[in-house]
Each structure stands twice: as C-alpha cells, then as structure tokens.
C-alpha cells in the first residue's frame, strides 16, 4: 500500500511538474508576442518589439538583414533623424521585421536578437549588431561573436547561449522572411509606412527627406 502510494505520488508530482513546465514555457512566448499584431497588410506579430509609443498613429515597418550594408547605411544616416523628429516625439513608432537572406550568418543574427528580447534587451542588441557590421559572412556574426555581443551587453550568458544554440526563434525568423515576401519586399532595407489612411512602400536606404515627406503627408 505504501509502495503504491509512493508511485502514485511520484506520478502526480511528475504530471504537475510537466504541466507547470509547459505552462511556464508558453508564458515566455506569450509575454513576447502579440499574435494578432498587424500593421496594414503586414503581420508584425513575430517582429521586433515596438520602438516608440505603441499608440502612435503611424508605424514604420522596416524589413532588414543584419549583414546588409545598405541597412547599415540607413541605420546610421537616416534612422537617427527619424528617431529624433518622429519617434521620440510620439508621432511615429517603428517595428523591425527580419528579411535575413544575405548569408549563412544572417538568420542566426536575427535569432540572437530575439534571444536578447527574452532578457528585454532587443533594441540594445539590434543596435549593437548594426554598429558592429563587417563583410557578409566574414565571421563578425558567427555564433561565438553573437554570444560575445550578449556578454558585452551584460545579458545572462547561459540563458542566451541555450536560446541561440537551441535555435528557439528559427520559426519566428522564417515567419518574418515569409511576411516580407508576401508583401512584395525584394531587397533590404525595405519599408512600409503605415498610417491611418493606408500604407506607402519605400525601397532601399533612402534619405531622411523622403521619409519626412511621406510621414508629414500622413500626419
């Protein structure tokens, strides 16, 4: 009777532990993702967290690859002025959606940003990648370097490492790539400016003046 009781007890504990584990892992995903999030025709549910005021009337959806030199140019030449004049003032927000296609290190780099998001450091990691960009598949975004970036940002290294090594966000990145293709994006960086009355596509690392004209016409 005692033995039976122990066995039943172990089974009950195992079931409770299993349910708790599966519930807590789905909680982690749910915390990061709003599955119904769309901007215009684009499902941004699997994209980045929103940069800026989530209730801003206009959203810039950026499709990019961390190894793309034109994305690097846009990040340094155009984005700072957009952040200063439109995002920091609450008029516009921005979502980054991965179109990781350029080389073998592109997808791991995108996955790494979501591993950083688990520790609420998505944008810090995103910015660090664009500040560290070198040649395509030149080793700057290989697994070791991606982990080193996490370490330099002070992330929980073991948590980040297990996330990256397990390719936890592989499907999320693939979903984003498919979103880009479904919306006719054929290169990076590509943008949709989504306002209350519609959306405007902008292809390439265009100057601030172009974004200003489009944004001002929507505000």
């Amino acid at each position: 009777m005692n033995k039976k009781g122990v066995i039943v007890g172990v089974i009950v504990v195992a079931i409770i532990a299993g349910i708790t584990a599966s519930y807590s892992s789905s909680q982690t995903e749910t915390l990061n993702l709003d599955m119904g999030r769309t901007h215009g025709t684009i499902s941004t549910a699997m994209g980045s967290p929103i940069l800026g005021d989530p209730s801003a009337p206009i959203t810039i959806v950026e499709f990019g690859d961390y190894q793309c030199e034109q994305c690097y140019a846009w990040f340094h030449e155009t984005k700072p002025a957009i952040v200063r004049d439109y995002i920091d003032t609450g008029k516009v927000n921005l979502v980054f959606v991965d179109l990781a296609f350029l080389g073998k290190d592109s997808i791991p780099a995108s996955m790494a940003t979501y591993c950083a998001e688990d520790q609420e450091m998505y944008w810090e990691y995103h910015d660090l990648l664009y500040n560290s960009q070198e040649s395509i598949d030149g080793g700057w975004a290989n697994s070791e370097r991606l982990k080193a970036f996490a370490y330099s940002l002070g992330l929980d290294f073991e948590l980040f490492e297990s996330c990256l090594d397990s390719e936890k966000y592989s499907k999320r990145v693939q979903y984003n790539i498919q979103q880009a293709k479904d919306n006719g994006i054929r290169g990076t960086p590509g943008f949709f400016i989504v306002g209350p009355d519609g959306q405007q596509k902008i292809g390439g690392a265009q100057p601030f003046l172009v974004f200003k004209n489009v944004l001002d016409s929507m505000i």
Binding site: D65, C68, E69, Q70, C71, A73, E77, F101, L102, G103, K104, S135, I136, D137, G138, R186, G187, T188, P189, Q200, K201, I202, G203, G204, A205, Q206, P207, L209, V210, N213, V214
Partner: protein, 159 residues
Amino acid sequence: MIQTIKLVYSNFKYVVLASTIFVPMMIGLLILSEYIFLEPYVVAHLPSGSELGFVLIVIISALSALVIPMNIFRIKILKSSKQKMGGGIFGSIIGAASGVCSCGPIGFAVISTFGSVGAAATAFLTNYEIPLRIIAIVILAVTYFTTIKSLKVECNLNH
C-alpha cells in the same frame, strides 16, 4: 592619342553610340547601387563613405563608352579581329556586376534562384565591390591603350 580619338569620334555615329552606352550604363548602375531612387520620388543620394563607389561607377561608365565604340570602329572600318572588344566588354561586365548584387532586388533574385551558390557569389561581389571595380577600370584602361596603339598602326597615323 588625340589623333586616334578624333579619327573615331569625327564620325557622329560613334559619338551617339558612346552617349548611348554612357548615359544608360551610369544611370542604371547608380540606380542599382542605390545612389538614385525612383520611388516614391526621384531622389539622388550620396551617403557619406560611399563617394569612392560613386566615382568608380562614373569612371567605368566613361571608359566603357570610350573603349567599346573604338573597338566597334576597328572591327567595322578596319575589319580587325574582335579580340580587344572582348576586353572592353569583360571590363564593363565586371564593373557592372560588382556591388549591384548587394542587398537590393538583383541580389535577392540571385539568392532566391540559386540558393547558397547565389548567396556566395553575391557575398563575393559585395565584399570585394571596390577592388573589383578597380580591376574593371584597369582592364578597360589596358583595352583602351592597346586599342589606341593598334589603331595607330592600322591607320598609319604616325606617317
């Protein structure tokens, strides 16, 4: 050298041909390399740090427009071999291909069609954009000087 250029370009047809090569090639390369955008507005943009790339595109277009008509002149008027023409076209293709296969629509199409082989080729053309354009300029310059030399000999310009 000037005599040879005058000889070829005294015929207005070759001036038109040179312009027909230079203008579309330069504008095409500037669009593909994202120095010029057509949508939503027509805008020219020269990001800081990309000045050298811009200058190299202009030089390649100018040299292609100079060398290719001269070689057509050689082939057509003097019935010469097509060997030197190959150098001009080869140099133009290298110059055009480097850089334009980057993150834009051409790179995307190449990678989507050819997978990892396309990705490797695109990465090579992007990573070595500037050296490849310099090589293209060297090829075009060599073709130019050998063409000048052979025209001098074939047309007896020194006599």
